[in-house]
Symmetry: C2
Subunit: 86 residues, 2 copies
């Protein structure tokens, strides 16, 4: 399994994150002063995760999974055994 | 920074993941046979990430960030230096 993580670009407002941060504040949680919300994709792979598969995942991430105008691909990596089971 | 990862429950359909998998297939990408789409939250912490902060993050994850009827909290952990910089 390959994991792809996509987050809104740091220089952009993140209304969903702002909403969560506001809710946390109203609920009395003071440990956190900012929240950003992104996406986590699990790509299930046919066969073993080779370098070619990771390269393809990287290409897919940048063309299909993330909108590079407003988002960054933070990470493309093979899932650990623990992550693959979750 | 604390990272919280939330995914749709395995036993539920994930229409967004199905749509991505269909698009991959149509675009000729044959390495992947399934996609699931979840969320990744970055919680920025005031001060150091202590056990108390992680416990609070876990509670926030299960009450506010995930809808436990249809989603699982996959992971609540301190971000590595590399992840925090991204």
């Amino acid at each position: 399994m390959v994991l792809v993580e996509v987050m809104p670009k740091a220089e952009l407002l993140d209304p969903q994150g702002k909403a969560v941060a506001g809710a946390l504040h109203r609920l009395g949680s003071s440990a956190f002063d900012g929240v950003r919300v992104g996406k986590r994709f699990e790509l299930h792979v046919v066969g073993p995760v080779t370098d070619a598969v990771l390269a393809e995942a990287r290409q897919v991430a940048e063309t299909l999974l993330a909108n590079l105008v407003i988002e960054d691909v933070v990470s493309v990596r093979e899932a650990t055994d623990l992550e693959a089971r979750a």
